[in-house]
């Protein structure tokens, strides 16, 4: 309902005819309170439509103002102040005092005040909601669904991983570097005693940084061992004296007896090396040197000889392996008091020793 300057008269009339709802009544009262010039007109209309006593009672415009700001208690606001007192709204001590003076001034006022005191309704405590248990709830169960699903996922993953690992274990190709090196050779009774002792010595004299060691002992088929005396100048054992024949002899050919010890490459730093020379050679550099040396040697061999063909094969293999991961190891032969050097290039293995004092 929108009250305007054009329709307020009609709305006033509707109010006094009792046609307004409670909400509209309040809206009207607020409108009148906000327009003091219309309040007088409203009160005049009240006298026309209502009996004086009723007019005073229904003038709720005053309710919208702070009741504690009333100047005095009078017949027009007495009941309103009674209600305010019973509602706990009357805080003005002076006004309260006047109110009780009015109440005590006559029996009629006392009766009115008493009737208002009786208008406070009280609940019947005997009325209770039957069976409150149906309203109550139990403690919420821990939401396990996410736990169950998480466990299920984890179990599935574990199962898949387990299956995968099993599958890979039965289908995984051999990680050994070559089929030759994967062969395991045992020390046989026919092995020369010297070799047996050397094996024992190797096991007792591990002095190097080693990793992923795997020992494959090949019984020597020949007593020929590549031994050379190293010069004092060389940082590395001087292998220049390895002749193609010796290289061929030590070439790893299946069924030949060789001692092959595999370990991660390490570099040695030798003392007493000439200042103008590198203290050490990488194995790749060393291999290249050997290849060049053997090539020169091969040139001196008859082209059609078996030795030439074998030597060519070895050199080709060496060429392929030059710079690759190569096994290089030095052991101490306490039995003979010599240093033993082993070089494993995969397809070629070298074994030689030198006297301790000949570095």
């Amino acid at each position: 309902m929108k009250i305007t300057a054009d329709n307020y008269i009609e709305i006033f009339i509707d109010y006094f005819d009792g046609k307004l709802t409670a909400e509209e009544t309040v809206e009207l009262m607020q409108f009148v309170a906000q327009h003091p010039t219309l309040q007088k007109e409203f009160e005049q209309m009240q006298t026309m439509f209502l009996q004086p006593a009723e007019a005073e009672k229904v003038n709720f415009v005053h309710l919208l103002k702070d009741i504690n700001q009333r100047d005095e208690v009078n017949a027009s606001n007495f009941e309103e102040l009674c209600i305010a007192e019973l509602e706990g709204e009357l805080h003005n001590a002076s006004l309260r005092g006047q109110l009780y003076q009015w109440i005590n001034a006559s029996e009629a006022n006392q009766k009115i005040f008493a009737l208002y005191k009786q208008t406070k309704t009280r609940p019947d405590e005997k009325i209770v909601f039957p069976n409150k248990k149906i309203l109550k709830k139990r403690e919420k169960l821990i939401e396990l669904s996410w736990i169950y699903s998480g466990v299920a996922v984890a179990a599935s993953l574990a199962l898949l991983i387990g299956i995968g690992k099993w599958w890979m274990s039965i289908h995984q190709p051999s990680t050994t570097p070559s089929p030759i090196l994967s062969h395991t050779y045992q020390v046989t009774p026919e092995m020369p005693n010297q070799v047996k002792e050397q094996q024992k010595t190797y096991a007792n004299n591990e002095k190097f940084f080693v990793r992923n060691i795997s020992q494959r002992t090949l019984p020597l088929a020949t007593n020929d061992s590549v031994k050379t005396t190293l010069s004092k100048k060389e940082a590395l054992p001087q292998l220049n004296e390895l002749t193609p024949r010796m290289a061929m002899a030590e070439t790893y050919i299946p069924y030949r007896d060789f001692i092959i010890i595999e370990e991660t490459i390490f570099y040695r730093n030798y003392q007493n090396s000439p200042s103008n020379e590198k203290p050490y050679l990488t194995l790749g550099e060393w291999v290249n040197e050997r290849i060049n040396s053997w090539k020169n040697a091969i040139l001196n061999l008859p082209a059609e000889s078996p030795l030439s063909r074998v030597t060519n094969t070895n050199i080709q293999q060496l060429s392929l392996l030059a710079g690759n991961h190569v096994i290089f190891r030095q052991n101490t032969d306490t039995l003979e008091g010599r240093k033993q050097v082993e070089v494993n290039l995969g397809w070629v293995a070298f074994y030689f020793s030198y006297a301790e004092g000949n570095k």
Binding site: A22, F60, Y116, T119, T121, D124, L135, K137
Partner: protein
């Protein structure tokens, strides 16, 4: 709010809400339904309603549920048209209180609720305004008009007697 606090609110306020609703709609079964519906709504929002404000939440929810029911059924309480046989609830009041509750039945639903919230639960004008969605000024007017009406009703009965 914890489940324990929820159950405590059942113990503390279920009866009060039931009385308030029952007084308004005069139907025990419907009053029970409203109370149950109110607590179900609270249960759904148990994590967002604090125990300190549960009372206001319950009465607000119950009131609006009741108003929705009244509007749907377009129930108009008229004292002259009231047939006591239609009541699904028998009241047990003292004489004065019985008369007052009979008078309250004549009030419009909004005014009746305001009076009951004020007298039964002791809510302030501001709290009643929040529960009912009325303005504080409207609540005040309803209270004053209601008191005056009840007083006049008592006077009229005394006059008859």
């Amino acid at each position: 709010m914890t489940v324990a606090e929820y159950n405590l609110s059942v113990e503390q306020y279920a009866d009060n809400i039931y009385r308030f609703i029952l007084k308004n709609i005069k139907d025990e079964e419907k009053a029970k339904d409203i109370v149950q519906d109110t607590y179900e709504k609270l249960w759904l929002k148990i994590d967002s309603v604090s125990f300190e404000k549960v009372r206001s939440y319950l009465f607000t929810t119950a009131y609006h549920t009741m108003i929705d029911l009244i509007r749907r059924e377009k129930k108009q309480v008229d004292f002259e048209q009231i047939n006591v046989n239609h009541y699904a609830h028998s009241e047990h009041y003292s004489d004065i209180q019985e008369i007052l509750h009979q008078a309250i039945e004549k009030l419009p639903p909004a005014q009746k609720s305001v009076i009951l919230l004020r007298d039964y639960e002791g809510y302030s004008y501001d709290e009643i305004a929040q529960i009912t969605g009325l303005s504080e000024a409207q609540v005040k007017v309803y209270i004053y008009r209601g008191r005056m009406f009840l007083k006049n009703y008592l006077v009229s009965l005394e006059t008859l007697i």
